[in-house]
Amino acid sequence: MARTPQTLFDKVWQRHEVIAESAATPAVLYIDLHLVHEVTSPQAFALLRERGLTVRRPERTLATMDHSTPTLTAQVFGGAPIAIDSAARQVRELEANCAAFGVELLGLKHAERGIVHVIGPELGLTQPGKTVVCGDSHTSTHGALGALAFGIGTTEVGHVLATQCLLQRKPRTLAVNVRGGLAAGVTAKDLILASIGRLGVAGGTGHVIEYRGDTIAGLDMDERMTVCNMSIEAGARAGLIAPDETTYAYLKGRPRAPQGAAWERSLEQWRQLPTDAGARFDSEVELDAAAVEPMITYGTNPGMAIPIGGQIPRHPEDPAFGRALAYMGLEPGAPIKDQPVNVVFLGSCTNARLSDLRGAARVLRGRRIAPGLSMLVVPGSQQVKRAAEAEGLDRVFLDAGAEWRESGCSMCLGMNGDTVARGQYSVSTSNRNFEGRQGAGARTLLASPLTAAASAVRGRVTDPRELL
């Protein structure tokens, strides 16, 4: 009898069911890789202490620090105290917890430290077919390698530490089929902003998205990570892309990827993972990539995005819409282009990998950022930082007048003191434009690294195609 065709998600899910779900209880799902950071783990380690439990599989657990850590070199390497006391305490607590529970920590000065979602793939730890969790919603990033990866809360962090398992109801599946080539100056960030605009910020709720089609197959790994990263911004549990030769070429030789005979065995298993012909998704959406233009947000959620040459919509009947525009200080019907900008942030787990920095540097080379504007460049990891320095990108940013920092989440969420001042406009390559996300009263416009760099040069929202 022919096996029922399965989706990539179905296969990964099924292979990790310790106990299948029933009417009375959710599935017990096995977790292959648990990434831990300083902000969402202290209370989970406290739970283990309260219950007298240990970490079941320390070798499947890796901790790093990224959210509240400083990006100023003096505070990371120079021995200057971390400016925010409570952040310094959180860093010390993670160090103590990892030491006490035997969990490997890529600490503040470690050469492989970085944003948790940048380092997992970079180290070769994130692999096709694995289940990956982290106490962070952008864990969806790791789905770019064909891993089932999703964010969890702190109580669940405790569950995984203690049992290496989670109780989960099986989500539904949503195929986002993307066809056609991206035009010059249009990036994976623009594609995902356009997708979220289409799906809505809750359109993916209860679902795991699989991004499919020739456009997706043509993306490199950095671009795939940008796409999967923002799945949560459409409300989805996770985003997945089938592993292929691009994935394998990316992983091969990475320090924590399988080596030698184990690599060959893994490859054989990974090749079984892509969705079978004829497999059914609970729903499907079609997107024409060729029609996507550089996108930018104008409001206070990532679904409020328009092509950069477009006008801010009018919804006079919707008080929430009015409130969002009032917060942003923008007018319905107005163009977004040429909106003055105070700050540009190039960073975050969405867009701070090497190719993102290269793209921005392409725009900035030989140019200066606008007078009065400040630009912060925060590489996604220390490895990205060193690779960028090896090809001279740091000089491009510094010569243009931008700041070049140590890696971390930084101005993506403004926990470490890197914030945008009240009322100021920031063009940011991060993933959330929520009220106050980059600092109380900050006004965030989400865009690609190209658009961010072009806007930095002009001091106004700028279509990058004018400068390429």
Binding site: V18, Y30, P42, A46, L47, A162, T163, Q164, A202, G235
Partner: protein, 190 residues
């Protein structure tokens, strides 16, 4: 986790859709290493002006909102960041149930693990509730019903295992720890 069987309270309403967890508890308060005391910072940037003075017009600062344990919200409540600090802050403030037409997945999961009840109701019911702040409602966890003062009962879905945990006041960890031999077997097979 304290058991929750029934809850009777007046409501406080926040009609905005897509209230994200950065609003519920802004990131700058996440450097804490405990769960306690976050209620003071709940909705901080809506509740207080930049100098820290309560904004009298914000719903939670009005006298009639004091003591309300049920929050009625617009669609897609709790979207964004996975921070469990969001339900911790709501609970610490005194909210025990949130009613909306939809919750973000991670928020709903985090809420249930802490005894905060996410109640999904049809759009018409939510609209009725949003238009009537201060209505006294009774939520019956066992029956899965919301009882309006006009006698109308609306049923709401609740994942059976989460219901069991809420009613018994137990958390999931005990259950998971009880699966040790199945997990051992799985690891040997893998």
């Amino acid at each position: 986790m304290a058991a929750l069987t029934t809850l009777t309270s007046r409501t406080v309403v926040m009609p905005a859709a897509n209230i994200d967890t950065d609003q519920i508890i802004p990131a700058r308060f996440l450097t804490t290493t405990t769960r306690a005391g976050l209620g003071a910072q709940l909705f901080a940037d809506w509740r207080y002006d930049p100098s820290g003075v309560p904004r009298p017009e914000f719903v939670l600062n009005r006298p009639e909102a004091q003591g309300c344990r049920i929050l009625i919200a617009g669609d897609n409540f709790g979207c964004g960041s996975s921070r469990e600090h969001a339900p911790w802050a709501l609970l610490d403030y005194g909210i025990r149930a949130v009613i909306s037409t939809r919750f973000a997945d991670i928020f709903a999961s985090n809420a249930l693990k802490n005894g905060l009840l996410p109640v999904v109701v049809p759009a018409a019911t939510n609209q009725w509730l949003l238009e009537r702040p201060g209505t006294e409602l009774t939520l019956d966890v066992e029956a899965g019903t919301l009882l309006r003062p006009d006698g109308v009962a609306v049923s709401f879905p609740l994942e059976p295992f989460a219901r069991h945990c809420l009613l018994a006041g137990v958390d999931e960890l005990g259950f998971l720890l009880g699966q040790r031999s199945a997990i051992d077997r799985f690891e040997r097979r893998a």
